[in-house]
């Protein structure tokens, strides 16, 4: 089906296919005292050849502008990937993070030369701890998964510090994000997966059965991956703590709860935040992000070094923390990302953050109410910031969740997450965030309802309005071409 939407489609070659010998994109600053290369490099280490493109500045700019036009971001429209919280990224965040002083600030500078940045980091870690209801916070982990890894190292060190060396298992629900089990293994744990209850919440009996003197931690998101608040959270925390295990909060879904409820109050011991989700820092096509970790007061001593501390009016990097797990990332983490989150929290304040979560939940609930008669939502619990609908009914009509995604793309709407969580057949996991207008939510809902009536031929042929038509991902994995020297001859 042809729609008015048409994504840009340039026949844009690769950098190496463009340009001409002799061109250059920069005039280097002068330096007269140029030495012979033999004086600079050990003779056996001198580089002979270097195959790089040769392009002028205008060609390079046009190349990247064209590539950008063949891409879709939250600045183009709705981007309702479930559990990814693709909200609007305020422009002022970038303005502050691009400050020339920060751009030339070296991580080995003495503390007295970086007081302003340390103050921002301190304020951010304190604000995050307050939002989470936790005791102390580190900003060091570079992403959510790095935060999980950090949190589990803290759990490991905590248990060992008490002589509790048997705890080698981490429990995760079957609906957990894939990073949870992967991080647990990296931290040296065995993963125990438990089934979700029929309504998508934690099956408290299954949890109790899995808990033992070998359990180091239980990792969950709340709201769950299905966008459902864990009603049994009080029983869950009691069961975990009774068994001597720690309770870990995966902050991927925190956008439902800011100013409404706090993981710390629910009994979580460790949590991470995704600044690139909840706190409006851009995803950058995959990163960089930032995954701060906060802990309850009894675990504060185990946080990575250094911790930013305030002594009077002076901010310091405190390395003298004997119980610390050490480090998980070079220097202090992704500071440029932290500055963006600091800006967002300053602008929103306590009321704005709370309102953002309310609007995120309102928007998700609104789409659900518009489509659930056609796309069943398998669990009846109220929706928080996201929900999972099923496109299973389309199987009889020659369609699938993936086909729905491609049809949405043809209408200039980014699809939701597909096929996750695995416990819902043909899952469409929808998280609109607080940034979308009611009109955009209606446009998206109308599109989904229209797509439900597509013919098998229409499903099979989409997308046609995107830069390329359906991409052969199987072929990509079968005949690996990972750089421009690996194209077969005929190209």
């Amino acid at each position: 089906m042809k729609h008015t939407y048409q994504q840009a489609r340039y026949d844009e070659g690769l950098l190496i296919e463009k340009g001409k010998p002799g061109r250059i994109g920069i005039t280097l600053p002068p330096w007269e005292d140029i030495r012979d290369i033999k004086e600079l490099v050990p003779p056996e280490m001198i580089r002979e050849d270097l195959n790089l493109p040769e392009l002028s500045e205008p060609e390079i700019v046009r190349h990247f502008v064209r590539l950008s036009q063949m891409n879709y971001g939250t600045d183009n429209g709705i981007y309702p990937l479930g559990s990814c919280t693709m909200k609007y990224n305020p422009k002022v965040n970038d303005r502050i993070a691009s400050h020339p002083t920060l751009g030339r600030m070296h991580p080995m500078q003495p503390e007295d030369t970086v007081q302003g940045i340390l103050k921002m980091m301190y304020e951010l870690q304190e604000a995050l701890a307050e939002i989470g209801g936790m005791g102390a916070c580190t900003l060091q982990p570079a992403a959510g998964a790095a935060g999980e890894f950090t949190g589990l190292l803290i759990a490991r060190k905590y248990h060992r510090s008490r002589g509790d060396t048997l705890r080698d298992e981490v429990i995760v629900p079957d609906s957990a994000h894939g990073t949870n089990p992967a991080s647990a293994v990296m931290a040296g744990y065995r993963v125990v997966e438990i089934k979700s209850a029929p309504d998508g919440s934690v099956d408290i009996d299954a949890l109790k059965e899995a808990l033992s003197e070998r359990t180091a931690a239980f990792m969950i998101t709340n709201p769950s991956t299905l966008g459902i608040f864990e009603r049994n959270i009080c029983d869950i925390q009691a069961a975990c703590h009774e068994a001597g295990a720690l309770l870990y909060y995966d902050g991927a879904n925190l956008n439902a709860l800011m100013g409404k409820a706090r993981p710390g109050d629910m009994g979580f011991d460790i949590m991470h935040y995704n600044l690139h989700k909840t706190f409006t820092t851009p995803h950058g096509g995959g990163g960089p992000g930032s995954g701060p970790v906060a802990v309850c007061p009894k675990l504060a001593g185990f946080l990575p070094v250094p911790v930013v501390v305030k002594e009077g009016d002076v901010y310091r990097l405190d390395y003298n923390r004997p119980d610390s797990i050490g480090k998980v990332k070079g220097y202090f983490g992704n500071v440029g990302v932290m500055i963006r989150a600091w800006t967002f929290i300053k602008i929103m304040g306590r009321d704005g953050l709370k309102r953002a979560s309310e609007m995120a939940v309102l928007n998700a609930s609104y789409i659900r109410s518009r489509i659930e008669d056609v796309y069943p939502v398998p669990f009846s619990s109220p929706t928080k910031h996201e929900f999972v609908a099923s496109a299973d009914f389309l199987k009889d009509k020659g369609g699938s969740a993936k086909d729905v995604a491609k049809q949405l793309a043809d209408r200039g709407l980014h699809p939701p997450t597909n096929y996750f969580p695995l416990i819902v057949s043909e899952a469409l996991m929808i998280e609109p965030t607080e940034s979308e207008t009611m009109e955009e939510l209606d446009r998206f809902s109308d599109a989904l309802l229209e797509i439900a009536n597509c013919t098998p031929e229409e499903f099979a042929s989409a997308p046609v309005n995107t830069t390329v038509s359906r991409v052969d991902e199987v072929g990509a994995a079968k005949n690996l071409i990972l750089n421009w020297n690996q194209f077969p001859e005929e190209e």
Binding site: R66, I96, H106, A187, A261, G330, S435, V468
Partner: protein, 451 residues
Amino acid sequence: MHYLPNHSNEKEMLRRMGLGSIDDLFSDIPEGLRVDDLDLPPGASELEVLREAEGLMNMSKGGGDMPMFLGGGYYDHFIPTLVDNVLSRSELYTSYTPYQPEMSQGILQALFEYQSLMSDILKMDAVNTSMYDHHTAIAEAILMANRINHKQRFLIPEYLTQDKLCVIDNYVKGANISVEKVPFFKEKGIMDLDGLSNMLGPDVSGVYIETPNMLGLFDPGALKIREMLDPRQVFVVGVNPMAMSISRPPGEYGADIVVGDAQPLGIPLSYGGPSTGIFATSMKHVRKMPGRIIGATKDSEGRRAFCMTLSTREQHIRRERATSNICTNQALTSIAASAYIATLGKTGFRQLGIQLASRGRYLAERINELEGFTAPAFPGHFFNEFPVKVDGDVCKLLNAAEENGILAGINVSAEIGSLENIFTVSTTEMHTQQDYDKLADVLKASMEVIS
């Protein structure tokens, strides 16, 4: 509330949904767990926050406010304006990991180009789109070596920063890998290959070496390590990618994995992050590699297209059996590196590399002329960073230099006990002749203060 379009039409939406109040949407949260107000300041206007941020930035200093000769893997290079311009394209920077390839060809092609450029620079077949930084890239390389040969001892250089060591220690805990240090020649500042030979054995998983190393010195020993190992043992090389402009790429001397930090290639210092951790390997080992990889393929019309590939290694599919837990990475800074390399191009990259090393030579000679300094402290070749030996207390010297408005270098003696009174100085094209003169004057004056 200017980020929240539905703030003003909440009632209409609730009415359409048959609800009375926003609280109805949160009724499933047990009452005892609800909070009324966070203990945070109220919101502020954009102008107020800009003013506050400006004030805080002015309380800080960077390379533009005082001559700075700090390196250690992160360098204050010039960033061409077009690199900032590319990164400000919001279709790119506000996109997610490209799970829908048909509408994400721009970011996919840009990342494929990054992989290709880095592949040519390192002479390695397969480059992932990024690790978090050099530190975690080394750590992931050690884990990958363990996946390749299931051996539990891994050898790293004696001269490695504490910052890197601490990160590695945490990453290898889960796999129970024992990380051991290969000794260095005290009088040469490079790896002692006889010492390495004595440590090798059938239980060794792999060896890591850096060139240029922590002191800034090229280490020619790197060329000989592959032949000291058996084919199953994994040879990992850490580089400053900028130095690849004049020194041989590790792919030419048998590296199985190459790691590094792309920060010198057009990425702002930003007080240490974000940057891109470089991670490259051979096709033989690509299925054991952590991180995201972009592949070229075709669309249903036969046009060239790009998509993520080999995803079955990754956490969202393989879960606890994934090669790594990494999900969000550093894709945007990889694109900065790509735009930067394209800007310099074949000739500019080489010329800049020669200029940087020439500046290093010049500066070392200047410092060596001063009473009480030996530069370089060891006889080898170096790139844009070199060790300086001080006749006196290096800590006091650097403090005295700071008092005089210069950050003269990094005190490596504080990190490696056996290196006495040595600091490293690095230079870039940002330095002017006046900066060099000032450094020489301040070092001379500081030496007089501490003597």
